[in-house]
């Protein structure tokens, strides 16, 4: 009997402390992040953000990421002629209203990742990754997407 009471008491204590602790939980947004199972050559979210954009019609928002070569270029040029070795990733998320701030939308989950790399022959290679997990899919007419991606100008700061 005493034992039973002890365990009931103990589980109550654990319950109480764990619910207190969960107040201070770690909140990482995995839904909106790239997963290990995604079939991407690298994690684009670790590259340099060039700019972001919103497509209200689709409730979507995107961030354009770049490797060092492309980032350095975009900091000083806005002519879309990225040098050889440039890697650009346009990551697009579905938006959701920010539960903590009425008046803001934040990313909900990744819809697609588009990659443009400038090869040694100066040609741009386009790859679209979509689905869950993200996998490269064949696309036919993507020249307008390449233009869209390389012509975004950098979000400048002083």
């Amino acid at each position: 009997m005493k034992n039973k009471l002890f365990y009931i008491g103990l589980s109550f204590l654990i319950f109480v402390t764990s619910s207190c602790l969960s107040d201070h939980k770690i909140r990482l947004n995995d839904e909106v992040s790239v997963q290990a199972s995604d079939d991407l050559p690298e994690n684009p979210l670790l590259l340099h953000p060039i700019t972001s954009s919103i497509q209200p019609k689709d409730s979507a928002m995107s961030t354009l990421y770049a490797n060092d070569v492309a980032f350095d270029y975009a900091s000083e040029h806005s002519d879309a002629h990225y040098p050889i070795g440039s890697e650009l990733y346009e990551v697009t998320w579905k938006q959701q209203p920010d539960e903590q701030w009425f008046g803001a939308n934040i990313p909900k989950k990744i819809l697609q990742v588009e990659r443009v790399s400038i090869g040694s022959d100066n040609a741009s290679v386009y790859t679209l990754y979509s689905g869950r997990p993200l996998k490269s899919v064949n696309t036919d007419n993507h020249s307008d997407r390449i233009v869209h991606i390389v012509s975004q100008r950098m979000a400048m700061v002083p």
């Binding site: 201070h24 994690n43 979210l45 701030w101 008046g103 939308n105 990313p107 979000a155």
Partner: protein, 321 residues
């Protein structure tokens, strides 16, 4: 029995005498409806907020009894200082929108009206219908409109100015924030931990984090954030293009939160600072400006005062390939 009646008499007498001790009478100047605000929205604000946030303070009889009156008067004076709807008509539309959006968010967090007040003043509590009314009203005031030529020109000028400064590497000395915090100039090379679309004030933001903060994310040690973690939140105007898409326009401001649980113990463990415009004017008249930052970040106290839920920036993929 007798003993109790003596105590009762003593208590009643003390209570009676206490009524002679009163705080300074709260002024009460009637306030007409806020301009360009529909009647039903005005009614909600009047019955729930005006008592503490305007010149019109209609106290109930029970608010006038000592000691309750000291508490209530304190709330009214502090409330008027924090936010006063009496000056509404003199504000610009965007200032008004900021107030409305801040007010609505304080309501949604359950911080306003003050719970101790609405517990007694039942009619000051907002119903779900009232809240929805405020939401719809705010949305109606902040539609996305295609940017006009003047706005496009402004964002082009801002862009060119900044790009030229970059190319020439003009390193101008940036003035310290009023709380003594120095400008941090290399945040544009940091990692992005999220972005937000603030349609309530027509800006879009990228939130950057320094390496220490990124390490904390990778090690899942983000609550509390470690000392020397720094966030930089950058805002640009939303440029709405003819096809409806939105891109970054003119630079608006950058804000920093610098973690140091000892140095900044008085401001919740964070150093707060904001610089505005291409010429990086420090924000705030004096060091007290941080009170503004903290009171708006208060609802996320349990998350170490950080709103943003960061992207999981693991390098797993890079390692496994």
């Amino acid at each position: 029995m007798k003993k109790w009646s003596v105590i009762l008499v003593v208590l009643v007498t003390i209570f009676g005498i206490a009524q002679l001790i009163r705080p300074k009478e709260i002024s009460n100047r009637p306030l007409s409806d806020l301009k360009n605000v529909p009647k039903d929205v005005n009614d909600v604000l009047r019955s729930s907020c005006f008592d503490c946030h305007s010149s019109e303070t209609n106290l109930k009889w029970f608010d006038r009894i000592t000691p309750a009156n000291f508490l209530v008067n304190g709330h009214v004076l502090a409330g008027r200082k924090a936010l006063d709807f009496s000056g509404w008509d003199t504000l610009t539309t965007s200032q008004q929108n900021n107030i409305l959006s801040y007010a609505l968010n304080k309501i949604l967090e359950g911080e306003m009206p003050l719970p101790s007040y609405s517990f007694i003043h039942r009619d000051s509590k907002l119903s779900p219908k009232d809240i929805n009314l405020l939401k719809q009203f705010l949305l109606s005031r902040t539609p996305r409109k295609v940017s006009d030529t003047a706005q496009l020109q402004q964002s082009n000028i801002s862009f060119e100015q900044l790009q030229q400064n970059k190319a020439k590497h003009i390193g101008k000395q940036v003035v310290f924030a009023p709380n003594g915090i120095a400008y941090i100039s290399d945040y544009r090379n940091w990692h992005a931990i999220s972005s937000s679309d603030r349609f309530d004030n027509g800006t879009m933001r990228i939130i950057f984090a320094n390496d220490i903060a990124v390490k904390a994310i990778q090690n899942k040690q983000t609550n509390p954030w470690p000392d020397d973690a720094v966030f930089a939140k950058t805002a640009w105007k939303q440029q709405v293009n003819a096809d409806g898409s939105v891109t970054t326009g003119a630079f608006v401001q950058v804000e920093f939160m610098i973690k140091d649980s000892h140095k900044y113990a008085k401001t919740k463990g964070w150093g707060w600072a904001r610089w505005r415009g291409n010429d990086l004017q420090p924000y705030g008249k004096d060091a007290l400006f941080t009170a503004e930052c903290i009171s708006c970040h208060q609802p996320v106290e349990n998350n170490d005062f950080v709103f943003t839920q960061p992207l999981n920036l693991h390098s797993l993929i890079a390692q496994s390939k």
